[in-house]
């Protein structure tokens, strides 16, 4: 089942050139991505939230010479992210129906390959397989930004791929070293054999992994590729970039740094928490001064991801669950915000908030939905953003009151910049009169599922938190158990 979900998109892409009309290509892609979504829902049925192990697991020999195998499986965290991916991809296809006009076949093909890459990252339990998908998904994203983006698209695409490739070069070296020291690429076996690596080398490896993932998140000093890539990408690109690709960095931290280097992770936890808080404040301040709607949303992503990092590195049940839930929330809210920006751009051909003014009069329905989405991004109680941020701050409060204070400050800033953005775009009087149509049925249909999730997570987050409970407990036990206790039962494994 997992195999089907991961490989269905890429395997269905060769049929695209055979389809004559461009409209049909969209329909076909929509059909494929939607059926992937339906299939991924069926994962829920066989998934037991009480089971701490990886489920739907499967191992096939792949490269015995290298010691890599095709080992996949999911836990609650990856399941949540898989659902987010399979949910956002058809939506972003639907959202691009009007805005992508040239080379539709190439666009849909890239999108399908991208989906396989993203899903592959979330299911891999083998380091090399993970790297394989991690790099695989770069290329279609690079093409999507570079071909269908805005004016400075080529520059942004190159910046995106260079940053990520430099990070992944270091990641690959670290993976190879782990392979040579522990004798396997398999994540679970490697995590049991990590005691074979000396503490100093371990620290270096931890930092190598952290660097690659921090670029992807992006954590504060490594974020400069993000505004360019987000602003220049077409709507579908921005949605997937913000919604999924950034999560891969966090997912990498959770899956690899936490599992492979639990002791070092807890040593470095406060460092990353501080970086997370810097990200929150920095992202908020940068968003505050933006004149460009898309740039504002991009910088707000840095702030939101700061919350996520802060949450997971508190290593408390609340913080972890909140952080992971916040990943999902950010995918929903920011995805919706980018789609909203895209809808405005299609009508007015600008992202400048000054020129966009006065939307409320001409597009009342849109303005209402935009308002709800914006408030969910602010973290209004009753909407999804609140639950995640509240849990994160709760978790942080137990660790450090200062950091919690600054994070709270970030929440207030978020309210300031998002509300002022909303005022500028929606309520400020328009410079000159203009008229434009309100949401079409298709566009409303794009937003509708977002609204469902916004209210669902906001009012009744229990099913989501239940999904995350076991994995985050697992992480906490792993981190809090001193390594010495793990070693004694190793020799049987090693020999």
């Amino acid at each position: 089942m997992l195999n089907l979900i991961v490989f269905l998109p890429v395997l269905s892409s060769p049929a695209i050139p055979l389809i004559k009309s461009e409209k049909r290509v969209f329909h076909y892609t929509l059909l494929v991505t939607f059926s992937v979504f339906v299939f991924s829902l069926s994962l829920l049925k066989g998934f037991s939230v009480e089971n701490p192990l990886f489920q739907w697991a499967q191992t096939i020999q792949w490269l015995p010479q290298l010691g890599a195998s095709y080992h996949i499986g999911i836990d609650g965290i990856s399941l949540l992210l898989i659902l987010l991916t399979t949910f956002l991809t058809p939506i972003s296809v639907l959202a691009s129906l009007k805005s992508i006009k040239s080379n539709v076949k190439g666009f849909c093909g890239s999108l399908l390959v991208l989906e396989t890459g993203m899903l592959g990252v979330f299911v891999s339990l083998d380091l090399l397989l993970f790297y394989f998908f991690w790099d695989l998904m770069l290329v279609p994203m690079y093409l999507i930004i570079g071909i269908w983006g805005h004016e400075r698209r080529v520059y942004a695409a190159f910046k995106f791929i260079l940053y990520t490739l430099l990070g992944s070069a270091i990641l690959l070296i670290a993976i190879i070293i782990i392979r040579l020291k522990t004798g396997t690429f398999d994540l679970i076996e490697a995590s049991q054999n990590m005691y074979l690596i000396g503490p100093n080398l371990k620290r270096v490896l931890f930092l190598a992994f952290a660097l690659a993932f921090a670029i992807k998140v992006p954590l504060f000093p490594f974020h400069t590729w993000l505004p360019d890539a987000h602003v220049e990408a077409p709507t579908a690109g921005s949605v997937l970039l913000a919604g999924i690709l950034l999560k891969m960095g966090v997912y990498g931290f959770l899956r690899f740094n936490f599992l492979l280097f639990p002791d070092i992770t807890s040593n470095f936890a406060s460092f990353f928490m501080v970086l997370g808080v810097i990200g929150i404040i920095y992202g908020a301040l940068m968003s505050w001064v933006q004149q460009d709607l898309k740039k504002l949303i991009a910088y707000s992503s840095i702030a939101h991801l700061g919350f996520v990092i802060l949450g997971i590195f508190t290593m408390t049940p609340w913080g972890l669950q909140g952080g992971i839930l916040q990943m999902f929330n950010h995918g929903i809210s920011t995805g919706a915000l980018f789609i909203a920006a895209g809808i405005l751009y299609e009508r007015r051909h600008t992202y400048s908030m000054k020129n966009l003014a006065g939307v409320a009069k001409v597009m009342p329905i849109f303005s209402t939905i935009f308002g709800i989405v914006m408030l969910s991004s602010v973290g209004l109680p009753g909407l999804n953003g609140f639950v995640g941020e509240f849990l994160v701050i709760l978790g942080t409060f137990k660790i450090s009151k200062t950091l919690a204070f600054f994070a709270l400050l970030g929440v207030i800033f978020a309210a300031v910049y998002l509300l002022s953005m909303f005022q500028k775009v929606v309520f400020n009087p328009a410079k000159e009169k203009y008229s434009t149509s309100d949401l079409t049925f298709r566009e409303f249909f794009v937003f509708f599922p977002f609204l469902v999730f916004i209210f669902w997570v906001g009012v009744y987050p229990k099913p989501f938190l239940k999904l995350l409970k076991k994995p985050s407990q697992g992480i906490i036990t792993k981190v809090t158990t001193p390594e010495v206790k793990v070693i004694p039962d190793q020799p049987e494994d090693g020999k």
Partner: protein
């Protein structure tokens, strides 16, 4: 009694070469006849090489065993694809060119088979002379300049190589690789080694013996550029592996560190120069210097596994170089990025192929270029040279910047003018199909080739 089966492929290549020459004179107007003969002969040679894989033996200065057969197969396959490519490119062109392709191939095969430095030298000369002719065979002012440069550098480097061989003969008393073991750390030996590394450096073009490469690459017709950048390098690497690993082991601490240094310099300088280059062919020239640097890492590590991964790397490298140039020729025989602008929508299939090829040159999965680098650098880490592997990976990340300019030009820019190479190019298309399928296959299932290669090394 000499077992002729042992030399089946070499003899077939020789025979085919003579036949193409004869037909080139007999049927002067019909360029396709020698080309077809060459193709049939090459396929036969490849087949023979494949079937006699386990057949090994020694004759005078030649030693054939599975490892040389692997290299010979790489060389034959490369030449075969180049011949495919040239039949479309030189439709009216000189039909003698296939003769020189084949003599070049013969020289390369002998170079891979040789266990005696004198034969190696003669083989190098056979390669060089064939290439001298090929480089100058189409006469334009630029190619004349290029061929003159190539000739001067070629003969100069040959004499340096010969000097090195002479010095080794003086102190070792024998030129068989396995008897060079006697050589020790006398000043003359060291001098001989330096001459040898220098002379061969011109042939493989690693830093600092590469300054001539971009000029020559730029001046010659594109298939010849593809030829110069691909197979001869693989052949000289085959020589270097056997010479260094079996012969000059006594001096290994010397040449290992030298090659490590040269590897770093080649990777970094090649990449930086390629970054700044706005001419496609010159970019490819510099990038092939960087690739020489990646391969040299194996010599710094000096383990059998590292050399096996070199063979694997070269399979990919040869295919990719030929494929890259062939694809560009297919679209428009040009060396400017601007001329490729916006062709992605006009030639969707070739553009996808070119994208795969350039991604593979960069080393991004799921392509053979990635797995080749993975194996090579993994052996580097295993051999204790994590630093070289790290530099290698960072450099291949940087190489994305210039390699991806090709797909970027194809897709991300708007067309400049509508002049397009017209005509039927089924043979180039065949080349591209072969390259892309093999490269993708090796990217996903590399072990299916790497394991057999590994089992052949000693």
């Amino acid at each position: 009694m000499i077992d002729l089966n042992l030399f089946g492929p070499e003899l077939v290549v020789l025979g085919t070469a003579l036949m193409t020459l004869a037909f080139a004179f007999i049927a002067r107007e019909r360029q396709t006849i020698p080309a077809n003969i060459a193709i049939i002969g090459l396929i036969l040679a490849l087949f023979l090489e494949f079937t006699s894989m386990s057949n090994s033996g020694t004759l005078f200065m030649i030693r054939i065993y599975p490892f040389t057969r692997v290299f010979n197969m790489i060389l034959i396959l490369g030449t075969l694809l180049l011949t495919f490519y040239s039949t479309d490119y030189f439709e009216e062109g000189p039909s003698e060119i296939y003769f020189f392709f084949l003599t070049n191939l013969l020289g390369m095969m002998l170079l891979a088979d040789s266990v005696h430095l004198l034969l190696s030298f003669l083989a190098i000369e056979l390669i060089s002379f064939s290439l001298f002719v090929v480089v100058g065979i189409i006469q334009t002012p630029r190619s004349t300049e290029a061929s003159l440069k190539f000739f001067l550098v070629g003969s100069f480097s040959s004499s340096i190589t010969l000097m090195g061989i002479g010095l080794l003969l003086y102190s070792g008393g024998n030129l068989y690789y396995d008897r060079l073991i006697n050589i020790n750390m006398t000043p003359i030996d060291i001098l001989g080694l330096i001459f040898l590394i220098t002379g061969l450096g011109f042939k493989v073009f690693y830093v600092p013996f590469m300054f001539w490469v971009p000029d020559v690459f730029e001046g010659v017709p594109t298939p010849i550029t593809a030829l110069l950048s691909s197979v001869p390098k693989a052949a000289v690497f085959a020589l270097l592996i056997q010479l260094m690993y079996t012969g000059l082991l006594n001096l290994q601490f010397l040449w290992r560190s030298t090659f490590a240094l040269l590897a770093i310099l080649s990777m970094i300088l090649g990449n930086i120069a390629a970054l700044r280059e706005n001419n496609l062919k010159r970019m490819m020239a510099y990038s092939s210097i960087a690739h020489a640097g990646y391969v040299l890492i194996a010599f710094a590590v000096n383990t059998p596994d590292a050399y096996s991964s070199v063979a694997f790397y070269l399979v990919n490298y040869v295919l990719l170089m030929v494929g890259a140039f062939a694809g560009i020729s297919y679209l428009r025989d040009s060396e400017k990025y601007e001329d490729l602008y916006g062709l992605g929508t006009k030639f969707p299939l070739v553009s996808i192929f070119l994208t795969v090829i350039f991604l593979s040159l960069t080393g991004i999965p799921p392509t053979g270029g990635f797995t080749a680098k993975l194996y090579l650098f993994k052996e580097a880490v295993a051999g204790g040279r994590t630093d070289l592997a790290l530099i290698g990976f960072l450099n291949s990340a940087i190489s994305a910047f210039y390699y991806l300019r090709v797909p970027a030009s194809l897709y991300m820019e708007s067309p400049q003018n509508s002049l397009v190479n017209a005509g039927n190019k089924t043979m180039i298309m065949t080349t591209l199909w072969v390259v892309v399928i093999v490269v993708l296959y090796l990217g996903i299932f590399p072990d299916s080739l790497f394991v057999p290669i590994k089992s052949t090394f000693y």
